[in-house]
């Protein structure tokens, strides 16, 4: 599965960002290039998890306001700046769910769903896709994010690791475990439905 090149971080890019951050610490107006670079990514991350477009824009703006307000506390520790922004985005997003008592959205892409079906060695048919959607909805929040980031947002394991503050290998292992769990959910659902149809 091809990952989105937008998320790739190079050493040169990181160094460039660090210079912008240093300047933004002195004057918030210098945050502009960082805003331009990450606005879309952060917005898509938020948009993927909620159903209100306007609210997604508002939360994105709030993320950058928070980032500028706390830029002085940011220190580079081998993790790209984007990870820091994602952490703020996650916090703001969950705060919004709590404030508005709204639902956490799972936006499923049927093409990507086909990739998941392939990964769990199931036949890519309509029934399996339907059962898979039900299976995803049964997962815990911590588990859903691996499926979401890997398949629906096409992130690399490195990127997932950086966002969740875990290693690339750990991200791989955890994603694999979630897929295994998903497989067992789909299997048990199918067995249950078979038994139901017999009676």
């Amino acid at each position: 599965m091809a990952v989105n090149v937008l998320y790739h971080q190079t050493v040169q890019r990181i160094e460039e960002e660090l210079e912008w951050i240093r300047m933004a610490k002195v004057n918030p107006a210098h945050f502009a290039p960082l805003y331009k670079r990450y606005h879309e990514q952060i917005f898509r991350y938020i948009y993927q998890r909620m159903d209100d477009d306007e609210a997604a824009y508002d939360i994105t703006a709030q993320v950058f306001i928070k980032a500028i307000q706390h830029i002085s506390t940011y220190e580079y520790r081998g993790v790209p700046f984007s990870s820091w922004l994602y952490r703020i985005a996650k916090s703001e997003l969950y705060q919004s769910f709590r404030d508005k008592q709204s639902n956490r959205m799972i936006n499923v892409d049927t093409i990507q769903l086909g990739h998941i079906v392939d990964e769990i060695d199931e036949e890519n048919d309509e029934l399996n896709r339907k059962q898979l959607i039900n299976g995803i909805a049964q997962l815990k929040e911590k588990e859903i994010q691996f499926i979401e980031m890997r398949f629906f947002e096409k992130r690399s394991f490195k990127e997932i690791g950086e966002i969740l503050s875990i290693t690339e290998n750990n991200a791989k292992v955890k994603t694999f475990r979630v897929l295994e769990k998903l497989k067992s959910i789909v299997k048990s659902t199918r067995e249950h439905e078979l038994q139901k149809s017999k009676y």
Binding site: P28, K36, A61, R98, A137
Partner: protein, 251 residues
């Protein structure tokens, strides 16, 4: 939070649409004005700050008034030198009256002053200015006087330094509002019923100097009062209820 909401093949927003919403100037502007949440936090902090301050003040006031009253007794409780010699256990005491003492302690929430004031109000008599200490007799002004024990009891002698033959020195008595008996025993608490010879004055309380001494300072010769609910404690901590005792304080 509910995770059950699944949206299939949602319309993807184009890059152009997202870019249209990019407005860094707006972000900078909102940074300049204080946000509503910040205001909220400040107001909340102020509210809880003031509230806790008031609560702390209230608690402090409560304890300071309560402690001022109990401090005297506490300090006097720890004065073993004022025991007098006695070799036998007091007779006529009622055993194990812990419950009685508990009840009395519960009633002691009010200060002596409050009790006296209240009783004076009930009797509709002119209020005696107990708050003005200068009206009370000072130790230096007092000549050694005696307290005469009217109701005699072999083990229950109001005692302070220099007690002899059931008589005790008044000068010490004014600062030692506790009665102590026999070695190894001490008086935990007592109640004073004072019937002044001045018409209409009745003072009752469980502290010595103020209630008794004030009346004493007003009267030319002597004052008679009764000690009731005298609770005595032995070394082990067992408490006894002693019979009431009448005393006459003579100038």
């Amino acid at each position: 939070m509910n995770f059950k909401k699944v949206n299939i093949d949602r319309k993807q927003i184009t890059q152009e649409e997202i870019e249209q919403h990019q407005d860094f100037d707006k972000i900078l502007e909102s940074l300049k004005r204080p946000s509503l949440t910040k205001k909220h936090i400040v107001l909340k902090t102020m509210f809880y700050g003031i509230l806790s301050f008031v609560v702390i003040l209230g608690v402090n006031f409560h304890f300071s008034t309560h402690q001022a009253d109990s401090k005297q007794v506490k300090s006097l409780d720890n004065s073993p030198k004022k025991f007098i010699n006695a070799k036998t256990k007091p007779s006529g005491f009622v055993d194990e009256v812990n419950t009685v003492s508990e009840n009395i302690e519960a009633k002691e929430h009010h200060t002596t002053k409050q009790i006296i004031h209240k009783q004076m109000e009930e009797l509709a008599v002119p209020e005696i200015a107990l708050d003005r200490k200068e009206e009370l007799p000072k130790k230096s002004q007092l000549k050694p006087s005696n307290i005469e024990l009217i109701t005699e009891h072999p083990m229950l002698i109001p005692s302070v330094n220099g007690v002899q033959d059931g008589r005790l020195l008044y000068s010490d008595f004014i600062e030692s509002p506790i009665i102590e008996i026999g070695e190894g025993y001490r008086v935990v608490s007592f109640n004073i019923d004072l019937q002044s010879k001045r018409e209409g004055i009745a003072v009752s309380g469980n502290r010595f100097p103020e209630a008794v001494m004030h009346e004493f300072s007003l009267l030319p010769k002597s004052i008679e009062f009764t000690l009731t609910k005298i609770i005595i404690e032995d070394k082990v901590g067992t408490q006894f209820l002693a019979p009431s005792m009448r005393l006459n304080l003579i100038k």
